[in-house]
Symmetry: C2
Subunit: 357 residues, 2 copies
DNA sequence: GTCAACAGATAATGCGCAATATCAAGGTGG
DNA sequence: CCACCTTGATATTGCGCATTATCTGTTGAC
């Protein structure tokens, strides 16, 4: 780079040192709190002189140099496989981001979004050109749905400080995460349904094997165990499409199931629609509840005020950042950090006691 | 840091060089495409050997070191004075962010959100402890409403590469920005209203002196000039509160104004409400249009489908980033970069021809 | 056969900072 | 009055990389 191209080099510690007539080490000490924790001690008078010089020059530490020298730079990353801000994605990511921003702000760190981490075919990827592009940040929070599990496993195995939002189990890697307690929430929901007097509860389950669904499986199983044969519970595997759902609802109703539980709010809406089509009214004739508030097509489902478990998104985001901070502050402890947070509940208007009760 | 704490040092170029029995410079050349653009040339055989060594060691470049050596770090910042992910979803910022993310992704850069830039009293500020905290990024896009103009002026004067979203005029500083052409949009809207047959058009103007409002002033003035005395146009200064607006609407109607134009959608809603209260129907008896789609209380206004100018938010965000990129790539050219983008128009349902026409 | 040109590599420097080792005084106790 | 500690500072090194200058052997031209 020619001198003419270099418009104005940012001032460095050396510049400050020169102006204040001290050694660079003193400047460094002043910048990073001169508590003498490092070998260098600085008197009050000199410190003041240095600070004045800093102010005068507008000196600001160079992050790259700093992180090279001490290995941290005060930047926390957020990685998602999809673009963060578009409308559809925003609705999903938003609650998490609120929590993440909140916690990161508290840590006095900055937040880095890995928009540049895509391979040549425009797909986002952690390993860009074979290099871990997340390295820019001290550590990262990982959010996402459509993910590349191999990449994630490699990331964690490499020892990169990462915390997932949502439970993840990866082969050969001890993952840290902030998850929602869908298991307990599911069990409690089923118990609540049973407590209302329902004696036939059917769960429609999609084909996903995501951890969050497995958690609900476990919760449902726990509820069945608890309720024993006092309540007839069943699980039906149904593709997550309106037609498929409409196809199974009549049979379930006929068999005496008075409450149908679905994986998410959208499917619950499908059930409501199917029930309505049968001339049944919800919740008078059939109760409906969802195990997730998430809905892909946002407003289509709004006319039903579905009873549903809610995800503590903000809390999860904040918790993930705090776990990450712990991970960074105590690198000696290599154990995964995990937090499981209670879900919320939206009472809604699709669950009541069954007609007979 | 004790050896026990250092979990696993990552392999460096030096390690690779040793394993492949070459000099570090060769490794560097191989890693960054050995097109000989730098002085170092590497033969095919050695290159293959080096690549094998890289693979074997799982070498990954250290970003900090790299950006220290090259002087840029591929990070573009976004600074806002308020939290970016506020609880009330889909904030003011959202459309801009969509565009910013899009353009940044195209540049292959990362996006940094300055969450850590707050002073001790928790207010966000560019100059934290008197030093420009934006320096972390190569350059930044600035979005915001409640801003500290002195800070902004200082920032630009310091030569920090920054691009505003929205027009800004700062004392003593040549500001780069990506703005919306509210002036033209306003003129065209008034012409359209006149074209529909309205002969009395009143504009309710709040007290703001923000550039975006001044642009609308200019547009309205241009329209008045154009229309001459064929149309009775007037401007009424009214505090942006529902009561104040309700107080002036009856008089305007009585004076024969058949269309009322407001600064934003929310105020337009207030006008609609006031008109309805008078027993008038919108738009049959009174047309209403807004010069900005923005609305503070989001859903309260939704029952009126207000005719309004729309802000090309996504385009502005993307344009701002591209201007910034130009600023960074051509630091020699110190002139401000500016782009003005056409507004959109939402036809809505509150504007028709006046009854008499 | 001599010199130039070039391919293919190495050596060395610096980016900006933190940390470590080192050093000069002034103060205290014996 | 000398050994010793404390305070307040400096000199130096190295983090991992890109880059520049430098060096060596091999061709090719004349």
């Amino acid at each position: 780079m020619k001198a003419s191209e270099r418009p104005k080099k940012r001032p460095t510690q050396a510049d400050v040192a020169r102006l204040a007539s001290v050694s660079p080490a003193v400047v460094s000490a002043v910048v990073n709190g001169r508590d003498g924790s490092n070998g260098v001690r600085v008197g009050d008078r000199t410190a003041a002189r240095v600070e004045e010089a800093i102010r005068q020059l507008g000196y600001v530490p160079n992050v790259a140099a700093r992180s090279l020298a001490r290995g941290r730079n005060g930047i926390i990353g957020v990685f998602t496989y999809e673009a963060l801000f578009p409308m559809q994605a925003m609705s999903y990511y938003h609650p998490f981001l609120v929590g993440v921003e909140e916690a990161v702000e508290e840590l006095d760190c900055h937040l880095l979004l890995f928009t540049g981490s895509h391979t040549d075919d425009r797909r986002r990827s952690i390993y860009k050109n074979g290099t871990n592009s997340l390295q820019v940040a001290d550590g990262s929070v990982l959010i996402g749905q459509s993910e590349d599990r191999d990449e994630l496993a490699a990331l964690v195995r490499d020892g990169y400080p990462a915390v997932f939002i949502g439970r993840r189990e990866l082969p050969g890697a001890e993952v840290s995460y902030a998850a929602a307690d869908y298991g307990t929430a599911t069990r409690q929901l089923v118990e609540r349904i049973s407590g209302l007097g329902h004696r036939g509860i059917a769960r429609l389950r999609g084909g996903s094997n995501h951890e969050s669904i497995l958690d609900r499986d476990a919760g449902f199983a726990a509820a069945r165990e608890l309720l024993g044969d006092r309540v007839d519970t069943t699980e039906v595997f149904v593709p997550p499409r309106a037609e498929s759902i409409a196809a199974v609802v009549p049979g379930l109703v006929e068999q005496g199931y008075t409450c149908i539980v679905t994986d998410d709010r959208e499917r619950a809406g499908d059930v409501c629609a199917a029930a309505t089509a049968l001339g049944l009214s919800v919740p008078a004739d059939l109760s409906v509840a969802a195990l997730s508030e998430y809905s892909y097509v946002d407003n289509a489902v709004e006319r039903w005020d579905i009873t549903t478990i809610t995800t503590p998104g903000r809390e999860m985001g904040a918790a993930a950042v705090r776990l990450l901070a712990d991970l960074l502050d105590n690198p000696a402890d290599r154990s995964p950090r995990r937090v499981v947070i209670d879900c919320g509940f939206h009472a809604g208007a699709t669950l009541t006691a069954p007609q007979g009760a």
